[in-house]
Symmetry: C2
Subunit: 83 residues, 2 copies
DNA sequence: CAAATATATCGACTTTTCCCGATATACCAA
DNA sequence: TTGGTATATCGGGAAAAGTCGATATATTTG
């Protein structure tokens, strides 16, 4: 999922029908591509959010998730320095 | 354990009594510090080895493990580029 | 070879993680 | 307000990971 969110336009072309990608990709789109249930995907996304890897933005009935690039940079650096 | 192996001299001073650190630290030393059973530590180390994070060198009845720094560098870069 | 020491492997049990269906909540439209 | 759609939360069963004791293997020493 994290890789998918690097290129929303390529990995979630269907979303264009009702929104752009400014705020990221909505749960339903990710769920469809993941092939897991809605509840599983929702929980997974909230875990990634609590971990700081993605950010969420509620717009109407949709929740959009997008990557927090800083977290990946930080993780990479953490592995370099601490591990 | 991976962090411990960054500074063997500091984290495993007892090993000096029978060997240096050229090949790393032996299982018994790591086990004592970890506070887990011998079998658990042995299995854990072999997993880390299969994953490429440490290397082992058998010397007599001892098996020494040391870090493979390249693997950490590679992981850091992987996160930067692929994730 | 026999005993002692260090490590590895095996089987079982416990804990954690994964994933689901059911249900709750939030928002929108008529 | 009622019904429809999107997402979140909850409780439980299945799968995986963690840990142990017992035992096997390898090596050294007498």
């Amino acid at each position: 999922m994290l890789e998918w969110l690097k290129e929303p336009e390529i990995n979630f072309p269907d979303q264009l029908q009702h929104a752009g990608f400014e705020h990221g990709v909505c749960v339903g789109q990710i769920q469809a591509k993941a092939g897991l249930t809605q509840s599983t995907v929702s929980e997974y996304l909230s875990i990634l959010q609590r971990a700081g890897f993605i950010e969420s933005k509620r717009v109407g009935q949709w929740t959009y998730y997008k990557r927090n690039e800083g977290a990946f940079e930080a993780l990479s650096k953490l592995i370099q320095s601490n591990l």
